[in-house]
Amino acid sequence: MYQYNEVDQALVDQRVEQFRDQTRRFLAGELPEDEFLALRLMNGLYVQRHAPMLRVAGPYGMYNSEQLRKLAHIARTYDRGYGHFTTRTNIQFNWPELAQVPDILAELASVQMHAIQTSGNCIRNTTTDQFAGVIADEIEDPRPYCEIIRQWSSLHPEFAYLPRKFKIAISAGPNDRAATQVHDIGLHIVRNDAGEVGFEVLVGGGLGRTPVIGQQIRPFLQKEDLLSYLEAIIRVYNLNGRRDNKYKARIKILVQAMGIDAFRELVDAEWEQIRDTDLKLPLSEIERVKAFFKPFDYDTSAAADTSLEQHLAEDNDFRVWFERNTVEHKVPGYRITYVCLKPYLKPAGDITAEQLDLVADLADRYSFGEVRATHNQNLVLADVKQSELYAVWQILAANNLARPNIGTLTDMTVCPGGDFCALANAKTLGIADQINMKFENMDYVHDLGEIKLNMSGCINACSHHHVGHIGILGVDKKGEDWYQITLGGDDGSEAALGKVIGKSVAADDVADTLEKVLQVYVDQRIEGERFIDTFRRIGIEPFKEHVYAVAN
């Protein structure tokens, strides 16, 4: 993965000292609250229900073992012994002291980490495919471009006070694992008819109060034009995006209001002015960054291993885990291996300091010292030799990190909700427990197959409930928690927004309602059909009828 040079290091070091001084001035009453608010947000610091919350950047999901150990240390020293991985592949700490945050940032900087632009109305962490570089179907590794965008957008002097937050995602093959269609800008690495590799560019996607699927603004963009084109889009947005209403300030609203064609015209006019300037990305710079993401020295004899077959035949639990929680690697003899952060009755994405240390050790021993975070709040050891999978599984299982539920109903994406988040309308963690208890039977869950369940505690949609195959949204009804259920959403290549199934249900009824929904699927599915396929074929009516008929 990318390694800082002196310049990169100087930037994060100086940023720490700058923030230290800002915090000092705020605490001394020299810096007005509203200014500090904007400044601290740009450094990942929120004030939550109980305490500040610090969001640390995991650039495009990449972490190394040294960084994980540092995060474990921070969790122990400054927090309550755990952290929480988010849907943007960052990690949050929920209990730091404001006065200690500069020290935490200094600790992070010592391992080439930071919290820059993890929040606030600026360009956020670029996200990508958790299988980047190790999956056979990709056209090119997207991570070098993520890093190039990271550097270009870091402390960009013009784009620090945009109308609203701005998120970019990149996918690199036919299967979109980065939810690019629901980002402010989605980039698809594609090959054109001439065989050149470049980007298809989407703009104006996003979730939140007004969920929108992004639209294509450019079918093919040359690599060298990447930064000039991004700069053109964001300049047009900065000048024209709404600032009178924060719920209408995202770029999606601007694109909708203008229409994609008029918006494209403005962008192209701006782009003409800047595309042949120093913003043109030299091939040499692309090559320099690519060198950090070269394939590892894989063991060419790894595929000769026969022990995996034997373990699969002998140990049923291992086989179940292998089938659900590992994925084919592009190099024979290796597997992409999930570290599951969706254990039974624990908050999704939470990880203890001990588990962080343990994953760091596993990475060092079995996966070239690197770990990735996924946008569904799990971790991935991307390069495990098949001969070592059994050992890895045993260690994961002994530490509650091997629940074989990846991609299934209980691999839920859940925001912290009313227990932690000041904006929440309803709690989410208790509902997740309720669903876990109802669907504890793994055979049943495996029989249901691939299902994405996303639950958000309010309309801000941090857990992307609109694009869950099943979405659950917490709403407040006269002070009580109620839940609205949507079906049919998807954030993959066939992105779609879920449809509301009917009136919201009481907290106690959520899991029972899901059971009815799933019953319709089980009754109606045809051979090999996933939940989402059945939904697309039969529509929402049969689900509606069954859920509400029985309820009445």
Binding site: A10, A38, N121
Partner: protein, 157 residues
């Protein structure tokens, strides 16, 4: 309100006018709409005439003529309203070489970004000024991306 130029507080001989104070003598800063309305009158003045722009203005009406003004002030209606940063870049790209002044609700912690976008004068509100504000220029010395101060990104420097 102290005016910061070149790392010091300097005297300011410009006065911002509005429709009520049209006849103010001396060097004046005129909001764009007012200027366009009374253009002939302003162009005939002997003393200095500067423009004030803000994010709601339609810049296309004036962009090609900006070089005739010795000073352009860009107003920040709120700390978090960042349109002025982009307006400054458009003016600099147009070749504007006069004084580019930030006015309104910006703060010390934005000075460096403002300078990078092409501002060279900063009219800070009294309560936002303290002698140590100058320290904020270059607080982070690393510049990954090009801007108005230096068009070259880090890998071309």
């Amino acid at each position: 309100m102290p005016l910061l130029i070149n790392n010091e507080v300097v005297a300011d001989n410009w006065t911002l006018i509005d429709a009520e104070t049209l006849d103010q003598s001396g060097d004046v800063i005129v909001p764009l709409a007012l200027y366009l309305e009374h253009r002939a009158q302003f162009d005939a003045r002997e003393s200095g005439v500067a423009l004030q722009l803000n994010g709601d203005d339609d810049l296309s009406s004036i962009l090609s003529e900006v070089d005739q003004f010795p000073l352009i002030a860009i107003d920040f209606p709120a700390f978090r309203d960042g349109r002025g940063f982009s307006i400054a870049r458009l003016l600099k790209r147009q070749g504007y070489r006069g004084q580019l002044r930030a006015t309104g609700d910006f703060g010390r912690d934005q000075l460096d970004h403002l300078a990078r976008c092409g501002f060279d004068a900063f009219q800070l509100k009294d309560e936002k000024f303290s002698p140590d504000v100058f320290k904020s220029f270059g607080e982070v010395s690393v510049r990954y991306q090009g801007a108005a101060d230096d068009a070259k990104p880090v890998y071309l420097q």
